[in-house]
Symmetry: C2
Subunit: 368 residues, 2 copies
């Protein structure tokens, strides 16, 4: 997607020698800076410090981290060490471990002298696959937006509400929930996005607002409290969110607060879709609220917020009464009964066991 | 209620000469400071700059503002001028105008030499009436909490979720939504409050958390996104909120985001009550979503937050991507069908025309 008219990906090669460049997401939306990764350790630090975030991007960054390790030294000891170092950065990120396992398996099959080339090839394949999946999600989701646009007067934008950041900054390009929005925008369909701030980490007002603005997509930031009121007054046509894990029955785990928007969508007849890559479907689970473990995150995410001072400097300020207890569950689960449909790179499915199996017939055996 | 073991009201006489003291709420929760009001203009500035806020407290502060004016000069010109000055501070506050009208009418009935005494007497009566109403709300609401406590094991707290600040800091003492919580706490019933942060103005994490903590009531601050997840997991027994305006049919306008919590309460079988003084019932309205005007507030409330720096100084920091549009409706309406009941100083009513008229039979003529 574009930033100030120039096309970017969140991760790309900075030079012919294989140095990797990423967008420093800790400084967004106030500063746009690239960070160059020269060694595997640089990639590990970038993941750990959330210079890069979002499951797909973390996976691809770890893959390139291994490529950087092979550039330093293609021996077995380095391979082992780098896998361990990169895996330790974000203990709960499933995608990270999956990407590292795939890379390690590919690299072990070739002798050290071939590993440098093989590693860059495999990391690039991973990145391209992610872009292709997101682009396909965008293509399928575009039909939903196009259908809503047809019911409107010419030029009146389709109003999409999204929560958190499931945009291209979380992936390599396009994004998941935002891919259909970009696809519609590129297709000339007028679209406007209500962006939930998404406390406590403000991924909406920081990242989603930044990426939509930089690409030129009309949008408005709102407090997380606001979406229900907008839906009551007919100002939202479609809710579109991402997912961190989806059960075989269509229950959708996503950033905390998603469930509240799904309730408001149901109460007001607004369609509610989750857009996600196939890799986030957990075919072993059938009861999202009961089974999906919800990470309890640091209270500091609630008690402090990073913002820009009048001087232009960034600062963390305390925003909760000192001494008060704080709870910070990171995700919630939206039951399938509130989900109109699930968009994946394969197409749009009903949020049910039957709906998902129609899109993934090969999974029949895996599902209880 | 207590702050560090000492009983306070939000407004009280600082000396025998009639100087008025208020708690400076712009510095809470980080600094506790009293502000002395010597002249009517001081009261006007305190209201305008939100040193005091909350409909009941604004009304009482305006009343004492007129008393201060009469202390300066009890003539008609001063009375006229002070009413005008105080009324202009918060253009949409209904309570402010009501309190000023009552004061002015009482003062016009007596000759200037008696106005000083009469003004302090009337302002004190207004304050005492507010305290009595809040205390009665607490008494009625206490029964709800006591009934829930009976279903629990001895010593296991009743879990109350509240949104925004409808506590004693918004009134003179006790509060509205929090009055039953304080009553339960005083009665020795274990109670724990989930405090919604309440973006964009953070009244929950700033004021509700401060006043509960200062009085010694166990509580936990959460992001506004969190309540639905807690209710899904059986961790909330009761939602208790205030109201800025309630229709004759029981639709409840309150701080933006209240509706989302009511939806989650309904979805999870959690009782949802609004606690409010009779004065906030608008007998002329029957369709809250359609009829209650919703104030669109300054975007700066969303784009900036006040917090405490590491140095201890307070600072406003920018927390939204620069250039993004922002919307900031201040309130939403929870339809009566989602409201289990309405607690007023008269008792607990069903959220319906019939329920409210049973509590207010004298209003039969007013209701369409």
């Amino acid at each position: 997607m574009r930033i100030n008219g120039r096309a970017y990906r969140t991760i790309f090669l900075a030079d012919e020698a294989g140095t990797v460049a990423v967008i420093d997401q800790t400084r967004l939306p106030f500063e746009f800076e690239l960070r160059h990764l020269h060694r595997a350790t640089d990639a590990a630090v970038a993941i750990r410090d959330m210079v890069v975030r979002g499951a797909p991007l973390i996976g691809v960054t770890a893959a390139y981290g291994l490529a950087l390790a092979m550039r330093e030294n293609p021996g077995d000891a380095m391979l082992r060490h780098a896998v361990k170092e990169l895996a330790a950065t974000r203990p709960t990120a499933v995608n990270l471990r999956w990407a590292l396992a795939r890379m390690e398996s590919a690299l072990r099959k070739v002798p050290p002298p071939q590993r440098f080339a093989r590693a860059y090839q495999e990391a690039a394949a991973l990145a391209e696959e992610d872009v292709a999946a997101c682009e396909a999600i965008g293509r399928h989701g575009l039909h939903l937006i196009a259908a809503l646009a047809k019911r409107k007067h010419e030029g009146v934008p389709v109003q999409v509400l999204t929560h958190c950041n499931a945009g291209w900054l979380a992936c390599v390009d396009w994004g998941t929930a935002l891919a259909p929005v970009y696809a519609a925008h590129e297709a000339g369909i007028p679209v406007h996005v209500w962006v939930d701030e998404t406390r406590p980490r403000s991924q909406g007002s920081f990242l989603t607002a930044f990426e939509l603005g930089a690409h030129g997509v009309p949008h408005t930031v709102i407090a997380d409290n606001t979406g229900g009121h907008l839906m009551q007054h007919g100002r939202v046509d479609l809710c579109l969110v991402g997912s961190d894990r989806t059960t075989a029955t269509g229950d959708v785990a996503n950033k905390i607060g998603t469930y509240l928007k799904a309730l408001a969508a149901r109460d007001n007849g607004v369609p509610f879709y989750a857009a996600l890559p196939t890799s986030t479907i957990d075919w072993s689970m059938s009861d999202g609220v009961g089974e999906i473990p919800i990470e309890e995150r640091s209270v500091r995410e609630v008690t402090y917020v990073r913002g820009r001072l009048g001087s232009g400097a960034l600062a963390d300020v305390e925003i909760v009464a000192p001494g008060s207890a704080v709870a910070n569950p990171g995700f919630d689960v939206t039951p399938a009964r509130l989900v109109t449909g699930i968009v994946t790179e394969r197409g749009v499915a009903e949020a049910s066991r039957e709906g998902l199996l129609r899109l993934y017939p090969e999974r029949k055996e895996d599902v209880r």
